[in-house]
């Protein structure tokens, strides 16, 4: 399981775990009190003091962090993700699932899989997208979205193959997204051809902060520090239009990595 997925799963259970922890606190104190009354008072005072200090530290860190682009981008990225998760309309997914019960087709499985992935229902998305490519293997978008679901799942070998199929059926599919993600998946697998694919993506589609950061990582692994610096410089350049939260995050990463190094040469 990739780190992002583990973190997401942990973050999803965090509110519930915190609620149970708060609910259990008086019982814990009562149990400690049965053994040692003074220890219960001491425990409570220590925990309350630690929580107060932690809250002040967190507030201070947040204020200081706002001066750092990476922290600002992190807050924007995760704020937009939380907002998205709270404001997702589940009706289209439920409708697509009910339509699928009446008549099965690749397009309908694809629709369920696509909507499920957009709503972070990764396991459901994977099942339906796999069925979609089984029924309609000639659609590039089916392969591309299957690749995205496999990429989210951390199955980079399968994702690279799915993106290859999408790219073969429709060169330049998803504005080069299939090519870029195939390059990234191969990079994560440690394959040397990743660099060529990412560089080709940059040549053919111009790229974005995300693609340039990934290209820089591929150059770094290949030992070409100058090219990596150039790619990071391009990623860190001021944008002409407002970036999405994700692209802004990658630009912030590039800015941090080029900080104090004079940018592209």
């Amino acid at each position: 399981m990739p780190a992002g997925r583990t973190t997401r799963a942990a973050l999803r259970t965090l509110p519930l775990a915190l609620t149970f922890a708060v609910a259990a606190w008086p019982f814990v104190l009562w149990l400690v009190h049965r053994v040692d009354a003074e220890a219960a008072v001491r425990t409570e005072q220590t925990v309350v003091a630690a929580l107060k200090t932690g809250a002040w530290l967190l507030g201070g860190l947040l204020l200081v962090g706002l001066a750092v682009p990476l922290a600002r981008a992190f807050l924007r990225l995760h704020g937009s993700r939380i907002w998205l998760s709270l404001s997702q309309d589940m009706a289209p997914l439920l409708r697509a699932q009910s339509e699928l019960r009446h008549f099965e087709s690749g397009a309908r499985h694809f629709e369920v899989g696509r909507l499920a992935r957009l709503r972070r229902r990764d396991d459901l998305a994977l099942v339906h997208l796999q069925r979609a490519v089984e029924l309609e293997a000639g659609a590039a978008s089916h392969w591309h979205w299957l690749g995205l679901a496999q990429f989210d799942h951390g199955d980079w070998t399968a994702a690279a193959e799915s993106f290859r199929r999408a790219e073969a059926l429709d060169p330049g599919h998803a504005f080069g997204g299939a090519l870029l993600l195939r390059g990234r998946a191969l990079h994560l697998l440690g394959a040397p051809e990743a660099l060529a694919l990412l560089a080709e993506h940059g040549r053919r589609h111009g790229g974005s902060p995300k693609s340039h950061v990934w290209l820089a990582e591929a150059y770094t692994r290949a030992g070409d520090a100058a090219a990596a610096r150039t790619a990071l410089g391009i990623a860190a350049a001021p944008p002409r239009t407002k970036l999405s939260a994700e692209e802004n995050w990658f630009r912030a990463i590039a800015r941090m990595r080029t900080f104090g190094r004079g940018g592209p040469r």
């Binding site: 149970f20 008086p26 019982f27």
Partner: protein, 272 residues
């Protein structure tokens, strides 16, 4: 049973609550001598955490019908008139009454868990915050997603109203924001998790369990506040065992003054 509930649903609970506010306000004699007024509030049920410990748990609900003066009474009557009728029509009188009492209980329990044990609290605002929490939960539940209600002017005003009232509680120290938060959370959780049709999903079931655990934790904190000085004093007086008494005395000392180190054991203990 259904017939009884159906006929109980005919009772205008909002109106009855408003009448109870008024009647109790007259009974407390707010324009009389202050000592007599305080005595009346005590007799009719102001909430004081240490009195709840002595077996007067009825105060957890009774305090939500008492007020400290005409301004307090009018503000809460205005809130009740604003939220009560619509919620009562929507939920039914029995559920509405249940919700009011849950809000009062939520506010009362949180006050008992976190307040000075001798500080009295009165007012229906905790229960009224419970109604506001319920209204917000109903809005969140009825949209296509939990934030869809923010597209509409009325529910947006409800959120602003809750925030302004909480801010009011922060600015004015005589206002018990603890009771407000307790009532708000209780009303919201009960409506969002329990008052909904259909079988609960697995996630809802987990959250229902969490809400029950929270209520049990608050009840434990209210009736067995093991780190509070008044509880420790009561236990100290009731304990004959000298070793346990020393332990409780140390705990009491630390509870009254956290910065002070534990005092040495009593002389007769030290020799053993």
């Amino acid at each position: 049973m259904k017939d009884v509930l159906r006929s109980a649903d005919e009772i205008p609970v909002t109106l009855v609550t408003a009448l109870a506010y008024g009647t109790l306000a007259v009974m407390t004699k707010p324009f009389g001598p202050p000592d007599e007024f305080a005595e009346q509030l005590h007799r009719l049920g102001h909430l004081t955490p240490n009195l709840v410990l002595t077996g007067e748990a009825w105060r957890l609900l009774a305090h939500a019908f008492l007020h400290v003066g005409p301004v307090h009474l009018l503000l809460n009557l205005a809130s009740l008139a604003a939220f009560g009728p619509a919620l009562e029509r929507s939920l039914g009188s029995v559920r509405f009454l249940g919700l009011y009492l849950v809000g009062a209980l939520g506010g009362g329990l949180l006050v008992c868990c976190s307040y000075d044990p001798r500080q009295p609290v009165v007012g229906g605002s905790g229960a009224l915050f419970g109604l506001m929490g319920a209204a917000m939960a109903m809005n969140m539940r009825s949209g296509r997603h939990v934030l869809a209600f923010l597209d509409f002017e009325g529910p947006r005003r409800l959120v602003v109203s809750i925030l302004v009232n909480l801010l009011f509680g922060v600015v004015y120290p005589m206002v018990s924001n603890t009771a407000h938060v307790g009532g708000l959370v209780a009303g919201f959780l009960v409506t969002f998790l329990w008052l909904r049709p259909g079988e609960p999903s697995a996630v809802q079931t987990r959250w229902r369990l969490a809400s029950l655990a929270l209520a049990a934790g608050a009840a434990c904190g209210t009736f067995a506040p093991v780190t509070r000085s008044d509880w420790l004093q009561r236990e100290l007086l009731a304990t004959p065992d000298p070793v346990r008494r020393t332990d409780l005395l140390r705990a009491l000392e630390r509870s009254l003054d956290p910065r002070r180190a534990s005092f040495p054991a009593e002389p007769e203990q030290r020799g053993r």
